[in-house]
Assembly symmetry: C2
Homo-oligomer: 203 residues x 2
DNA sequence: GTCTATATCCAGATAGAC
DNA sequence: GTCTATCTGGATATAGAC
């Protein structure tokens, strides 16, 4: 009895994950309003009506995905911050790694694309807007802190660390969007070009 | 008689421009699908039905705006290319100017936002997609050519000029999107940080 | 849990009076 | 040219059978 119950819950969660995964793809490609519940359901392989057994609305799915997307980004930033290496090494390694990720991980670029769509639209549900407002600044803060650390250590260029963080993230974001909107065919620029923006000469 | 006719045509064109202007705002903020014809008409100050005397569909308006947006960008790139100064000066001055524009011109950032939305969605009308495919690479080509020129002159860093152009535009694009999604409150990073990516040391 | 059928709503586009 | 009223299609969400 109880074992069946557990299994049912697991099955339900698996289906929900599948729905989220397909919804993410659709939202990233088309945005909230051009994505139809039917599209998502078809990709999952279920009838349109059935989707409402798992989520009560399109918006609910959207909000869940926003949450996941930002949490992943924040988590990655935090684990970068926590690494036991000098600040300039954090910047260096993260840029190298992200460029590789942009070139190879469709999922990462979907996330970037999704976030770009969400941030770029004032028409999304208010709960989604609240979440964005709450979470989007975290990665900027963390990189800003690392920049400041590096300045104290004498390895990062002078200037407002916040602005350095803005440049860091917007450059990466711009590249990711460009990549995904070109169907992953663009070779990334040499990582050193980006790295050298932030490192002091000679480091 | 003929004078009246001319006047009528002028009036009509003025109204059309007004519609385009308001539509641009709406599209930039909300995207094609979340923007309702009624929203545009209301902002212009006319009844929803009347809009169809000026344009035959929402898509037609959208396509017209895409065309204008890219043409402006291409025109600016071409006039940069045509300037009678060394290549590295073209890069330097354009970055300085664009950063100022991002900070001050709402219209420019609306254009960036609109283009970002359009490029980011596969759900837009096929004619719009065709236009994007046709026109979006032009500014990249032009900057790439200038980079190459500068390399010959020994003032621009080594590396694939195409990739330098990608970095140039994606960084700018990322900044513009960030700015507009923060309602124009973000101070731009020091232009020299960006300029130094591309200039050879000592130039 | 899963499907089909349907109620309901909303927005694009049209028709027709002024 | 301008408006109001309306047609029409399509999408969300629900109901109800299996």
């Amino acid at each position: 009895m109880s074992r069946n119950k557990e299994q049912n819950i697991k099955m339900r969660e698996k289906k929900q994950e599948l729905i989220l995964k397909e919804a993410m793809k659709e939202f990233a490609m088309k945005g909230l309003f051009a994505t139809k519940i039917k599209d998502i359901a078809e990709n999952v392989g279920m009838a349109q009506g059935l989707l409402y057994h798992y989520y009560k609305s399109k918006e609910e799915i959207y909000i869940e995905i926003i949450n996941n997307a930002f949490d992943k980004l924040i988590e990655a930033s935090e684990s970068l911050e926590a690494m036991n290496i000098p600040a300039h090494e954090k910047i260096r390694r993260s840029i190298i790694e992200i460029l590789i990720t942009i070139e190879n991980s469709e999922e990462f670029n979907q996330t970037c694309r999704f976030i770009a769509q969400a941030i770029n639209s004032t028409a999304i549900p208010s709960e989604a807007q609240r979440l964005i407002l709450e979470k989007r600044s975290r990665p900027y803060q963390i990189i800003g802190k690392i920049m400041q650390e590096g300045q104290s250590e004498g390895t990062i260029v002078e200037g407002d660390p916040e602005q350095l963080a803005v440049l860091y993230w917007t450059a990466i974001n711009g590249l990711a969007i460009y990549q995904v909107s070109n169907e992953g065919k663009i070779p990334m620029p040499d990582a050193n070009l980006l790295i050298n923006i932030f490192l002091r000469k000679g480091v």
